[in-house]
C-alpha cells in the first residue's frame, strides 16, 4: 500500500484541519504552526509533488483561488501585504511530498525574508543566460505547440 499522505488525508477529511475554503480542485486551511497569524496553506486535492505537474486548468483555478485568499486575508486581518510561497523540491526547502502553497500575512518587521540578495553580473553573462533560457523555452513549448 502507498504511504498515507497527511495532505491527501486533509483533502479526504480523514485528517482534521481548520478549513477556510474548499471546492472540487483545491482546499485551503490554517497552518497550525504559522509564520504569522492567519498563515494559510492551499493544496490541490489531487496528489502532486510540484507545481509544474498540475494541469493547465488546475493552475488557472489555483491562481484565481490565490487571489481570493490573499484578498480575504488583506481585508479580514487589515494587512499591508501577503507573501505566496511555493517550494518545488527538497533543495528549495520543500518538506512535504504534496504540493503546498503558502499564503502568509505580512507585517512590518515580521522577521520573514522571502527575497534573495542581488548578485552582480555583467551584460554578457546576462545575455548568455537569456539565450539559453529562450532556446529551452522554444524547444519545450513553441515547437510542441506547432506539432499539435
Amino acid at each position: 500500500m502507498d504511504e498515507p499522505c497527511l495532505f491527501c488525508n486533509i483533502a479526504n477529511k480523514k485528517a482534521q484541519a481548520r478549513i477556510v475554503y474548499e471546492d472540487d480542485v483545491c482546499i485551503a486551511f490554517l497552518d497550525p504552526k504559522p509564520a504569522t497569524p492567519g498563515h494559510l496553506i492551499l493544496i490541490p486535492k489531487k496528489h502532486v509533488l510540484i507545481f509544474p505537474q498540475l494541469e493547465k486548468d488546475e493552475i488557472i483555478h489555483i491562481f484565481a483561488t490565490l487571489k481570493l485568499l490573499s484578498n480575504s486575508l488583506l481585508k479580514s486581518l487589515k494587512l499591508e501585504g501577503t507573501s505566496i510561497f511555493i517550494a518545488n523540491g527538497i533543495a528549495a526547502e520543500q518538506h512535504a511530498t504534496h504540493l503546498l502553497i503558502h499564503i502568509i500575512p505580512r507585517q512590518e518587521n515580521d522577521g520573514i525574508n522571502l527575497t534573495t540578495n542581488k548578485v552582480e553580473f555583467n551584460d554578457q553573462e546576462y545575455t548568455e543566460l537569456t539565450e539559453k533560457l529562450k532556446e529551452k523555452w522554444y524547444a519545450m513549448f513553441v515547437e510542441n505547440s506547432k506539432e499539435q
Partner: protein, 201 residues
C-alpha cells in the same frame, strides 16, 4: 515612485527578455541571484488584487512553464515560486511580479520562516474571521456574475409584458438601486488596498 519594471518594458533600462507576448513577459531578475527570473504584466498593476482574472490565468500558466524551463535549462535541484504582494512583504518594485528562483542542494539560501505556536482559541478565532470574509467575497462575486447574466438577458429580451413582469423573481429590478452604491464602495476599497500595499515601509 519610479517603477523599474515599467522602465525595462519601455526600454529606459536594459532588459533581458526570455519570453514575451502582448500582455506579459518573462525577464531576468537583475535584483536576484543568477538565473532568477520574474514574470510580469506589461501594464503597470501594483498588486495581486489589481490583476484582472484573465490576465492572472495567463500569468499562472506562464509560471508553470517558466519554472519548468528554469529547472531544465539550469539543471537545478528545485525552484521556488514566490509572490511578494505589497512593499512591506518584500516586493522590490511597485509592479506585480512572480519570481522563479533556481535552487541547488546546499546553496546556502534560506527562505523559510520560524514556525510559531498559537493557542487553539486564537486559531479558532482566525479561522472564523477568515472563513467569513472568504464567504462574503465569494457571495459578492456570485452576485456580480448573476447581475451580469441578468443584464445580458434583459438586453436580449423583448420588453416584458405586464404578466411576465409580475412573474419575474425579486432579484431583477427592485434590488438594482440598492446594489449600485455597493459597487462604488468596492472600487474605492480596492484603491485603498493598493495604497496600503504600495506604502513604503
Amino acid at each position: 515612485m519610479v517603477c523599474n519594471v515599467c522602465g525595462e518594458f519601455k526600454g529606459a533600462i536594459k532588459s533581458f527578455v526570455v519570453y514575451e507576448d502582448q500582455h506579459t513577459a518573462v525577464l531576468l531578475d537583475q535584483n536576484g541571484i543568477s538565473g532568477q527570473v520574474l514574470i510580469a504584466p506589461r501594464i503597470h498593476l501594483p498588486i495581486l488584487e489589481s490583476i484582472p482574472d484573465p490576465l492572472l490565468m495567463h500569468l499562472g500558466n506562464l509560471t508553470a512553464k517558466t519554472a519548468a524551463v528554469v529547472y531544465k535549462t539550469l539543471n537545478t535541484d528545485g525552484t521556488n515560486i514566490i509572490i511578494n504582494n505589497g512593499l512591506i512583504a518584500g516586493q522590490k518594485e511597485p509592479h506585480f511580479s512572480i519570481s522563479i528562483i533556481p535552487r541547488y542542494d546546499n546553496d546556502g539560501i534560506k527562505l523559510l520562516w520560524q514556525q510559531k505556536t498559537i493557542p487553539d482559541n486564537e486559531l479558532d478565532e482566525l479561522h472564523k474571521k477568515i472563513t467569513q470574509e472568504i464567504e462574503n467575497t465569494t457571495k459578492q462575486d456570485d452576485n456580480i456574475e448573476k447581475k451580469e447574466t441578468t443584464q445580458q438577458q434583459t438586453e436580449n429580451q423583448q420588453p416584458p409584458t405586464p404578466n411576465q413582469q409580475q412573474s419575474q423573481p425579486i432579484s431583477n429590478t427592485p434590488q438594482q438601486p440598492e446594489e449600485k452604491p455597493k459597487e462604488d464602495e468596492e472600487i474605492s476599497e480596492d484603491n485603498y488596498q493598493v495604497k496600503r500595499l504600495t506604502r513604503r515601509p
